[in-house]
């Protein structure tokens, strides 16, 4: 059969969702942000909640998220996305409100807002993109940089004796009583993207239950900040990041899941 005969509207199985704008993404080639943007928009399209969803854009590489997500968005100050989301959700309890934050935003300057929003059990969804460095400003060490990881401010690798230990925000919020669903996923292979999409879908559906906060961490890459090609970065992520940040659900339906 000729290829041109297959390319017909009737045979279409996958297409970029229209909720992602036509504007080219400002991210570097191979960056996980693009995949996460797309799967969030696909989930919103599948749940048919585009007109009822309000997203909160952070500060960081994804500061322009509102340019690419064709839904209502609000820009928050650095780290304050959970506080902004709290205000919006309390004004419109029936809207779906989510924040999209990087590790510098959520785990460094916004630690207080994140922990208190999770502890209060605000009925929102937090999507946390963890690439282990401050990508936008040039790849400096972040609170989530794993031990031994090279960044522009730790050229010999992170020494925990000198620079302290990395923080596992997802493990912390899973132990707070206000969270309903906590999961850690990645987007470096097709299988992981499918699992991450399922977790994000659960996190959005949970807002209907009004029983607490849903938190999804995505372990992602940063080819430019890590000074690698996208393929090398994904391989490095699998070999180094995932053993330190094990994937899977940490809390389901308000109950902690014991590690396998």
């Amino acid at each position: 059969m000729d290829i041109n005969e297959i390319i017909r509207e009737a045979n279409l199985v996958y297409k970029k969702t229209s909720l992602l704008t036509e504007k080219p993404l400002s991210y570097c080639p191979g960056c996980g942000h693009g995949v996460v943007h797309r799967i969030i928009m696909e989930v919103i399209e599948e749940l048919d909640i585009a007109t009822e969803t309000i997203g909160i854009a952070p500060v960081g590489c994804s500061v322009l998220a509102y340019e690419f997500m064709d839904i209502d968005m609000q820009q928050a100050s650095h780290g304050r996305a959970p506080a902004t989301a709290t205000g919006i959700k309390r004004c419109w309890p029936d809207k779906y409100v989510f924040t999209y934050q990087g590790d510098g935003d959520l785990a460094a300057i916004g630690t207080s807002e994140t922990i208190h929003a999770c502890n209060r059990g605000e009925n929102i969804t937090i999507i946390f993109i963890n690439n282990g460095i401050y990508g936008m400003t040039g790849g400096q060490m972040a609170p989530t940089t794993i031990p031994g990881m090279v960044s522009s401010t730790t050229p010999y690798g992170r020494d925990v004796q000198l620079m302290g230990n990395p923080i596992k925000m997802t493990d912390i919020v899973a132990r707070l009583p206000g969270t309903l669903f906590v999961s850690r996923q990645s987007v470096h292979t097709a299988v992981n993207v499918r699992k991450a999409k399922k977790a994000i879908k659960t996190a959005f559906e949970n807002q209907k239950l009004k029983r607490g906060l849903s938190f999804v961490e995505i372990v992602s890459n940063c080819p430019s900040g890590w000074r690698m090609t996208p393929i090398q970065a994904n391989k490095w992520l699998e070999e180094n990041m995932i053993p330190f940040y094990p994937l899977g659900d940490l809390k389901v339906d308000g109950n902690l899941v014991s590690p396998k």
């Binding site: 297959i6 080639p29 797309r38």
Partner: protein, 75 residues
């Protein structure tokens, strides 16, 4: 037995040449073009298009959402 055949269309102007689709494809359909697009990136193209099964792996891992997938059954 019915066989599944697929086809992909790549938006070459949106492609940034990260090559993640090349490694994600289980049947090695995609290669990188020597030419560049207007942004200066070597873009992906379906070199071995006959082998495509329409599994969507390339489209799912594409960070820029460049790939559209079609699939049909052939007798």
């Amino acid at each position: 037995m019915a066989k599944v055949k697929g086809a992909i269309v790549i938006d070459i102007e949106r492609c940034k040449g990260c090559e993640l689709c090349v490694v994600a494809c289980p049947v090695n359909v995609i290669s990188m073009e020597k030419k560049v697009n207007t942004k200066g990136y070597h873009f992906a193209y379906p070199e071995n298009h006959e082998a495509c099964t329409g599994c969507m792996n390339c489209a799912i891992v594409c960070p820029d959402g460049c790939i559209t997938v079609y699939r049909t059954k052939v007798e």
